[in-house]
Symmetry: C2
Subunit: 258 residues, 2 copies
């Protein structure tokens, strides 16, 4: 299994703190030593960093942690390879353009038979079932809508496709176009929203505490979502299985489906 | 005008030396202070770094220079904005998938009316004429060939599209799928190939000399192509105007057309 981490915020926020904890799981406190990647959105543009090196030893990871890139939407993934060899092209997040926007996708789990599903517009560059699933999703969205539909329709459409993929195995996923962070839980995904009054939090994976009251303004809203709780003194909420949640500006806009 | 730099080599090679010179032109020895970007291929995967900050002051540029990423194919661009505001999504190289490969594109020049040309499959994310031209090129290649054609046909097809774009203004371009580096000269592009016996070279833009004999093995073949000579003590060859050159493993595979 891999580890996922995403962030949605209403102001450009650095994820150094969460990132520091997550990166420790790549070869230090966790076994996810087969590379990692992160995508930071900045307006319609994004920066993506990928490294097939274990994140705990990665110089690029150290640079990102120290450099403190600020972003409102972030998707991060550390990999334990089960399908597809350890290589740069097999490292999440995967990226493609749809409707004139950058879409980023990261997946945790394994899917049966999905690599045989027919593709049209998008093709995988690497050999993972994850990238194949991503191409398939974008193909289906593109077939259905020539232009971006309303947020409500799009969320429902994405949830349907995720349900279909989850019927083939484990499909925990983070997906974004930079505006909205879509998160599908097949087995394991937890989240929390930090807002005023801010307190302090301590990482599970490293001896590091941060006092968010000193790092934020009273209007900040920051949601973090991950495979497992990243801090030991905050309350993380589980996303119900087989459901989609979505966040814009740190605010939950799509909840569990009844 | 922006500055372009590309590399094609038969072994993973670091471009720290050339990169150090080029980055100085972004706000130090040159006026190209509106961001920069670089794409390094590693097999079918690639790493791309983009920064709307002037390269001479960019922390990411400093990191790349010091970290020495090794690659066989590199495309680098520093920008002086003339179309499209200074923003991450307007920073070259632009990237798209075609035929299951990562294509990277960087352009120097201005094109008249190209943003009105119809697009099909690919859409720009930013607002530059360059990204529009790139999407148009990939659309045309995709229409013509459902699968990647032979290298010879592809080079001829790319040259035709470049001619058409160059008829609308200035179109100096670097394009790659990671295997081959395609370079079109509309007004200004120079190149050289370094191979045994290797000598020393001194940058035009910084007081830095490197002895390639100490950095290479006798079998290495490294071609560097740029808007203007990067070193002051080597012979740089001009690409003839309105022509395409292409390199694989540092070797020229397509020359000037007769």
């Amino acid at each position: 299994m891999c580890e996922l981490m995403g962030m949605s915020a209403n102001v450009p926020t650095d994820i150094c703190f969460s990132f520091a904890g997550l990166m420790r799981r790549g070869g230090a406190t966790g076994p996810h030593g087969d590379g990692w990647g992160v995508t930071f959105y900045e307006g319609k543009g994004c920066r993506s960093f990928h490294d097939p090196q274990p994140s705990a030893k990665s110089e690029i990871a150290r640079f990102i942690r120290d450099y403190s890139i600020r972003s409102r939407t972030v998707i991060c993934h550390i990999r334990r390879a089960n399908r597809g060899r350890v290589a740069l092209e097999n490292t999440h997040p995967f990226l493609r353009e749809l409707w004139g926007r950058n879409w980023a996708f990261a997946h945790n789990g394994q899917l049966r038979g999905v690599k045989k599903w027919a593709l049209g517009h998008y093709r995988p560059i690497g050999t993972t079932d994850s990238e194949h699933a991503f191409c398939w999703m974008l193909d289906r969205l593109r077939e259905r809508w020539a232009e971006a539909p309303t947020q409500r329709r799009l969320s429902a459409g994405i949830a349907e496709l995720c349900d279909e993929l989850a019927s083939r195995g484990v499909f925990n996923m983070l997906l974004s176009d930079g505006q909205c962070l879509y998160c599908y839980c097949s087995t394991k995904l937890v989240w929390l929203t930090r807002r005023a009054p801010f307190g302090a939090a301590t990482l599970v994976d490293a001896d590091l505490t941060v006092d968010f009251a000193r790092e934020t303004t009273p209007d900040d809203v920051v949601t973090v979502i991950a495979t497992g709780p990243l801090t030991r003194d905050e309350v993380w909420e589980s996303v119900p299985r087989r459901s989609l949640v979505a966040f814009t500006d740190g605010i939950q806009i799509v909840g569990t489906r009844g």
